[in-house]
Amino acid sequence: MDDAMIIKDVNKSYGHGVGRVHVLKDVSFSAALGELNLVLGPSGSGKSTFLTIAGGLQTPDTGQVIIDGQDINKLSHQQKEHLRLDKIGFVLQSYNLLPYLTVQDQFKLVDRVKKAGNLSAGQLDQLLEQLEIKKLVNQYPSELSGGQNQRVAIARALYTDPQVVLADEPTASLDSNLVKVVGQLFQDLAKQNNKAVVVVTHDLRLKQFADRIWDLSDGKLTQE
């Protein structure tokens, strides 16, 4: 399988002198299209730092992050913004939905910023149907349940047709039934939509859906 994302020998530290904390230590990682990668780790293990570096939101001290053949650390600020908009779909803990936009307006907002390369109306319909949220297009996020919001957030992340989907604790506030639904969704996303899906979580209930499981502890990433 083709690697959509490669992380090579990444190190990241915060602070100076005696207060310096080495959060990521020689981290290497790859995620292929059609594959669901699960990065597990307890709180404070560096999961969020890993995700922000993988998504181009932070720059590592050393090492490379390669997405679509480009070392993103060599890109300008604007180029990184374009890359995040075009190639990366974020699914955040807070569902990354604007409270004052209806479900369909969340997609319209993307259309206004990224004029081409988004899903067509037909493809979006199909995706919404697949996620079972087609009837909710005129609802505001506050009118939806946690699970429905999570699925809208996934649809929003996929609308730009990204190669890589990065999810941060997507099941943090969900009960066991919904964890299964969301886990299945991410698996389908990888398989049916041919995306490289990276889920960062401490929720072990998601393990059954993953193709590869990584363990991040004390800044070191190892594949199970």
């Binding site: 939101l57 890359l83 995040r84 974020f90 955040l92 807070s94 604007l98 004052y100 907002l109 910023v113």
Partner: protein, 352 residues
Amino acid sequence: MFLALKEIQHEKLRYGLITLMFILISYLIMILMGMMLGLAHENTAAIDSWGTQTVFLSKNSNDSLSQSLISQEKRPNYRPDHMATIGVAPAVAKQGKDKENVQFVGLNRNEFIFRDKLQLTAGRKAQNNREVVTDQSLKNKGFKIGDQLRLNSQGPKLKIVGFVKNAQLSVAPVVYGSLTSWRQLRSVQPNIVGSALISDQAMSTATAPKLQHYTVKQFVNKLPGYSAQNTTFTFMIGFLMIISLVIIAVFLYILTIQKLPHFAVLRAQGIPAKNLISSTIYQSLLLVAVGAAGGILLTLLTKQVLPEGLPMEINWLAIAGLSLALLVLGIIGALLPVRVIAKIDPVAALNQ
């Protein structure tokens, strides 16, 4: 623009209250401006209605129209088409039980002010020294055509034959009569011909070298209380504008700060900062523009219901200027948090 409108549409109560505040701020500024202009108008309406460009007073009048006395010897020869002698005296007009403080202005019937500048709204012009026309505000206070006015207790008795508009001087209604009546009222020497020479053309000092020369602007600023009153109002409006800027800026800043978590998410998703900044500025401008429009509407409504005696002038140029100033304040207020938006750390979106 999309984000700005959608947010306003969804958060109707919040943005309704903020808009209401902006409306009240612009209303307060506009109503004060209207009153300032109204008072200024009541000071100078008559002078403006004559198309005055140049004024000559006697040299020892200490810039006071009512204290100026021009003698026959000092008055130059002039063409009555563009220059007129006027005699001004404050007086109390009595008719039955009605009493009113007025400014009596004596005119020559063959000179341009009497001939061309009196704006009759009812009746006719005076035809002899015993007839007068008055400002129409006296009509609203119960004076009628045909009434006999007594000016001061010992002054002449004069018949009202017409009403004119824009006839106010030093915040008092004008009674236009003859210079003969004025001489009688002031009890001046026979060689005194009037208080001032008025011209509707720009003239030099050389026109009347024995008299004190004023441009209309200089003259108006010397009217008792005029300059102090306008300066006071101008300072009030100026301070109000500065306070409004602070209030508007603080509100827009708080609004933006409240939106930072959402902006962080959007930045994480690759939405460029310039889109968020332009949306914020557009939203601020929209709120301030609606505020200014609401303020104009309320000012117009207030003008309709204000009692007659309360001076208020609607000047569209001043309103346009004020609205523009409010929009500029809105832009300044919206620009303050721009740096905050530009510096949003999208990593914050992951920590929410």
